[in-house]
Symmetry: C3
């Protein structure tokens, strides 16, 4: 039994329930809820940064999109901490890590790994100058990462990047395919259009708009990272023309932006580029990447007129009407003051032959001939049978 809600999720009043299921919920249609979907994404945009560490540098799609395959989940790096030229070596652990604090070499058990740290303790305590405390020396990728994230996003103008989302769907039962790319003769349209209230069928989205539609600030997200969900909903009535079957987009922030704790806010991860020097030593550039992950989720169903669900839904609706009769009976027979009178009218005692009651029953027939065996068993089921002899 379906719940009674209109497409917006608001409940409908009970009296219109029957017609509602049939007309609004399209009870006369066969429904295919199994949608086959394929998503291809392509980001476009170039950013320029000028930092003391890297100098002037251009970032293109290959640099900042991960993974590169253009799948339905992709990450755009908007902020980063670079630690270049890490080698397998020994060095002092990051002073910010509590477990690495030491006062003498005995505080650094050799072979023990630093909790939430970057390596294995060698057994030395490294102090700078005349400090009484220092940090344990570790075997690690050295030097270790410095722990401060640029306050404002390095790739701040990622706000102007665009992503082209190509979604092809198929309803196998009806052998119906459609794509979210508007079927237009105008080649230039797809190069210049941007999704929005005026162009709801344009498949090209501005990253800044995507984030603002999800209710967040782009620059804040770009700095700390986060996850945006893009829902594509196909609700197709195939009794109409294929051009009426169109996607509806909605956007929401999926990570918990209200979390205040450093451990649970934002989105970041580390990756590295591995190199080998001319002298065959491995080294790497460690990058802690902050940015926005986009998760594209496709849902949908298609309906088409079919005689079977029509018959079943008409039948079920009529069957539900019987409930009213049953409830009226209950009220008349048991709840009203004069229910005894109605009971007398409705039920007749049927006596079996073996009890030699046939003659009596024939006589009684004149007075209580309106009792039906059907209703008798109905009461039986409720465990309330009272045989009234007249």
């Amino acid at each position: 039994m379906r719940l009674a809600r209109d497409p917006g999720g608001r409940p409908v009043p009970p009296p219109v329930q029957g017609r509602w299921v049939f007309l609004v919920k399209k009870g006369y249609q066969e429904v295919d809820p199994s949608i086959q979907s394929s998503v291809i994404t392509k980001v476009k945009g170039v950013a320029f940064t000028n930092t003391s560490e890297m100098g002037k540098r251009i970032w293109d799609v290959v640099d900042y999109v991960m993974p590169p395959q253009g799948e339905s989940v992709f990450f755009i790096m908007t902020n980063l901490i670079i630690t270049p030229n890490q080698r397998q070596d020994t060095c002092a652990e990051n002073p910010g890590i509590p477990d690495a604090l030491c006062y003498r070499d005995q505080d650094c058990t050799p072979g023990e790994s630093v909790i939430s740290g970057n390596g294995i303790k060698t057994g030395l305590c490294i102090k700078i100058g005349n400090n009484i405390s220092g940090t344990c020396e570790i075997l690690a990728w050295c030097p270790v990462e410095k722990k401060d994230r640029p306050e404002s996003a390095l790739l701040a103008n990622a706000e102007n990047f665009t992503v082209y989302i190509k979604n092809t769907i198929r309803f196998p039962r009806f052998n119906f395919s459609k794509t979210n790319v508007l079927d237009t003769k105008d080649d230039a349209y797809l190069k210049t259009c941007r999704y929005g209230a005026e162009q709801p069928y344009c498949p090209i989205f501005s990253l800044g708009k995507l984030v603002s539609w999800a209710g967040s600030s782009f620059q804040e997200m770009a700095s700390e990272g986060g996850v945006i969900g893009i829902q594509i909903e196909w609700d197709c009535n195939l009794d109409q023309a294929p051009s009426e079957c169109n996607p509806h987009y909605s956007f929401s922030r999926l990570d918990n932006k209200f979390a205040e704790k450093s451990i649970s806010s934002g989105y970041n991860f580390r990756f590295a580029k591995y190199y080998r020097s001319a002298t065959d030593v491995d080294f790497r550039t460690l990058i802690k990447a902050y940015g926005i992950r986009f998760d594209i989720m496709v849902n949908g169903k298609a309906g088409k007129f079919n005689i079977i669900p029509t018959v079943i839904n008409v039948g079920s609706s009529l069957a539900l009407m019987g409930v009213g009769a049953f409830l009226c009976d209950l009220v008349l027979l048991y709840l009203l003051q004069k229910s005894n009178f109605y009971r007398g009218k409705k039920y007749e005692e049927v006596r079996s032959n073996t009890r030699k009651s046939l003659p009596e029953s024939t006589i009684n027939g004149n007075q209580s001939g309106n009792q039906s065996v059907d209703s008798l068993s109905q009461l039986n089921q409720l465990g309330q049978l009272q045989t009234v002899e007249t």
Copy 2:
């Protein structure tokens, strides 16, 4: 209420509806629709290319499969454009990009990024020879990509590659596990078999066959790229032996092959290999990869006899029969010409004591004793009650 369709999706005629739901749709079984699935894939094959750019070269799985993890979505590179030795530098933008066209330096606003281009304009207009027009100079990964895709796929013999798909499923409610790998004693079987009509339970697929089953030409897809969906369907009747629970495969093309527009046909993406020179300069090899993405989707349900759904389904079927009685009543009482006569037979007027109608009622009892209170309230519900006094 389930729709009446046979497993092939064809509707069944209404008269057999009741039995159909119970026997064909296995209404006597408890169903577990929540399948747990794990997919591991492994591609095998080696390709040889001989181009002026790269010379003789071997491509193995590690070179052409992305991502390497062997998940349920994987991409096989079959064609590519290589742009080696890109460095962060200034160079002329690709002449094919409209926004880079310039006649004098003023056409190239410094700091502006080229729309759909590769970098940021420096403010110079670079002309070759005596041409009156040129392209803006940009800060970018230089040299920029040349925009022509090899007509025929470079890794054309990827058609002979094979992919081994290992799918293990589990129905948690019944604690039933199964894999799509045939349980055979013959070790050699899994090394030589190929999925097909003769070997429907072999888990090794030829890429060329996969594409042709999806209705496409491999060489065309290999050149332009595309997406193939592989559906694995498990529909298990656990009242039978476990060996009867087998996967069914189907194949379809998921990207829109009919799209003519260059922006929306095929499948490609760019990625790069990053290097660092002996003098610590970063450079990269940019690769625009065309190829086939395979999406493996696993669905399934399992059913097993259980007394509860049996009872409920038998009950519901019987309840539906009551609809017929109700409809017959409606016809007899309101639609037939002689409906007045039947109404007289079916309904009796019940007068309340307070209206001192008891004696009258007793007399009428002889003539209209067959009226049931049940049916009276039933009519009430339809809003059509007519008390007929005799």
Copy 3:
């Protein structure tokens, strides 16, 4: 119609079916089965290895987690075979591959690829010393991989690594969001807690525990590889306080651990790090990685009181009661020995005026006045109407 099962999946006895659906299955609630979910994972831990091949080496998260993005599917490398310094060259194929066996050059057709091998045959047969058989020379990434996996896992202490799983869910219909991270003021809690029976709401899991809860041995899995499924289940009653809506975790092994065949046990894949030498020659380090893949699957639904499903479920339950009456009738009228007697009581023959039977009917009325037209049509539907003339 829902199946009758309690939350644990056990069937309930039929007599309590009606009340059961309404109270235990919360038939008075509107249900939102569409959960929006976002998963962010972060692994922590450092491993130390000392092998003849690589010397002393530290492995951190960036080295052993793939892909690095922290998505819901991630792989932790625990064992590996390294083949460093592979170049495009010619060399002898691995002797373990049957198709590469040769006795003379004619056995190695030039240009043919080695089945399940690493390259393309050049046409030479390479024999070592005085052996009568050898292996074909191939064009490949040389030297080819040596085929033996370390018996015990190289990164054995991955057992102590931890993974932080941050799962934010949202029920769009009720606009309700929640995260699996316990909402606590105690900052240190999230740095020291570990999920377990005592701390069911801590989001940090020890890898060793995860594997043991799934019923496997960590060291065995670490050596051969495997897939672990982590199910997160949200079943929220939003009529209660939000703090009552909590995740439930379950763990299972998804690959088939019982498979004995080498081709289908464990989980591994190959990837490479690509380098370029000072003389512009490409070379790579091939890594065959064994390890554990974790698949996090999130399911859930939320319910909240709503008048519509309440009315529908009450109605349906009452309607089902009618089935009992109908069954009792069938037994009384057709299966009992004295069914003729009840039939006589229940049905009256109604004669039409056209057959001039009205007078007769009036007379009969006294004897069979208890026959209802309703029941008559009910029988009609069963195709068993027998008009009994008296």
